[in-house]
């Protein structure tokens, strides 16, 4: 399901004193099977952008084409589209409503018209994917801990077997272990099923570790669209717009300023460690 945005602009509250341009002239193509990260400051248009991808918001001008379907076309059925493009909102636990966890996770597939037997299987597999034990299925979602509620809500979207999965800060407010666990499971899922995953995040570490392609949003426009390695090479530019680079990259950049011959960018701590050790031995040999 390729997604294509052409000259997309979006204005909130047009014609009132509260008018705000959330997106300005965005051109973007997302191919199948990509793992894409979107970063940007609060208010840079990230959340607006991802809502374009499943037709929850329609552009004020320009066109959004999902799987050859133009979302602004007259009489277009967006329900089918929304079932193919799963969207996990920020603080997804706020959408839980059913009496049991199983019923809540089943809500999406039921709306899709999936047969009962298959729904049960999908619920189980979605819960396992997000790391929830199956014995909580019959409990009320409101009895769960905050982290478990978030997982249950994410499972509710995964159970729809979307071809494109959008996650808007899925791990905000979770503990580090829960965060790593959920994100690596999503990465596995993306590789297994070959789906497109779009991850909106504030954590440079997370995007550096996970994504193949990184989009940087600033004031409703795309500032960078490249691999994380290329994007994080612009450390100073990112800091100027209130973002940063992963700590591993930060360390290397500080060492470079002091004359160490280390690479500009490291995406993981391990990569930085190896680079520093190599540079250290090199310096010792020279000395």
């Amino acid at each position: 399901m390729p997604i294509k945005l052409e000259q997309v602009s979006f204005v909130y509250a047009a014609g009132t004193p509260f008018e705000r341009h959330a997106l300005k002239d965005i051109n973007l193509t997302l191919a199948d099977g990509e793992f894409i990260g979107i970063i940007g400051q609060t208010g840079s248009g990230k959340s607006t952008l991802v809502q374009m991808f499943n037709g929850l918001l329609k552009p004020t001008s320009g066109t959004v084409t999902v799987n050859n379907l133009v979302t602004t076309a007259k009489g277009v059925k967006l329900k089918g589209l929304r079932q193919e493009v799963g969207l996990v909102f920020q603080f997804a636990e706020h959408q839980l409503f059913a009496e049991t966890v199983a019923a809540d996770v089943a809500f999406g597939p039921e709306n899709q018209g999936v047969p009962k037997a298959e729904i049960a299987a999908r619920v189980d597999s979605a819960l396992l994917t997000v790391g929830l034990p199956l014995d909580i299925k019959q409990r009320s979602p409101f009895e769960l801990s905050g982290g478990q509620m978030r997982r249950a809500a994410i499972a509710g979207v995964l159970a729809m077997n979307p071809k494109v999965l959008i996650l808007d800060e899925p791990t905000a407010g979770l503990d580090p272990r829960g965060r790593d666990e959920i994100l690596s499971r999503i990465r596995e899922l993306q590789r297994e099923r070959g789906i497109t995953v779009i991850l909106v995040s504030h954590s440079m570490e997370d995007v550096a570790r996970l994504v193949d392609r990184l989009i940087v949003m600033h004031e409703g426009q795309i500032l960078h669209d490249a691999s994380p390695r290329e994007v994080f090479a612009h450390g100073a530019g990112l800091k100027a717009i209130g973002l940063g680079v992963p700590q591993a990259t930060e360390v290397l950049q500080l060492l470079r300023q002091r004359g160490w011959s280390v690479p500009e960018v490291a995406l993981t701590l391990e990569e930085a460690r190896q680079a520093i050790v190599a540079a250290y031995h090199e310096r010792r040999e020279r000395a």
Binding site: R82, A92, Q95, L96, N111, V157
Partner: protein
Amino acid sequence: MSLRHNITLGQYLPGSSAVHRLDPRTKLLMSFGFIMLLFIVRGGWATYGLLGLAALCTILIAKLPLGMVARGLRPILIILSLTVVLHVFSTREGVLLFRWWIIAVYSGGINQGFLLAARLVLLVLSTSVLTLTTSPILLTDAIEYVLKPFKRIGLPAHELAMMMTIALRFIPTLIEEAEKIMKAQLARGADFESGGLMKRAKALLPLLIPLFISAFRRADELAMAMEARCYRGGDSRTKFKVLRYTALDIYAWLLFAVIGVLAFYVSYLG
């Protein structure tokens, strides 16, 4: 899709006109007085003309767009037309103008119908001017002051005003929340628009349940935060913004008194 932009909250139009600058208590009591006047004076066209002129002048002084004020009358359009029609066909006074089968129209009916409609219009206009020129927060402040004397008979004036303030404060928050949950459920394939009444009512559950839960959660958190800051109701509580009457209020009351006396005079004359 966007709920937020379809709902006007209160309808306060910020401004700096003399009417805007009046003390909210003055405005509140004056609109109340105006409504009383409408019911007390024996209405003739001259009286209503006078009161209507006063209302129009207030609107002009407040620099309110006439279209906006007129739009405030839209909700009572049905009541207005019903009033006129009922009076026209049921009153049997004055000159017979028209008769067909069992339908008879008398001049008195037309007169009374439109007089009553004029009274309703003026009634709504006076409250519109009040809410258009007074911010909701000031208005609740004024209500608290006005209700204070009734405290002796056990009316919790401060608590009522605080409840209104909090309710007003949380309307936009809850709308935003509702919008967000609606989108989240739409993204899960929910359908709020098709099907029969029962099906649609049932489809609202995934929206309403999370909304209620979040409202209760917010209420809990707010109560906790207020208690943590030692909030204990209205007793011996001072205000950050103290309402003060100014010369403007005195002039306004004088003007109001003149109009009131004139209205009585005109109505007994006629």
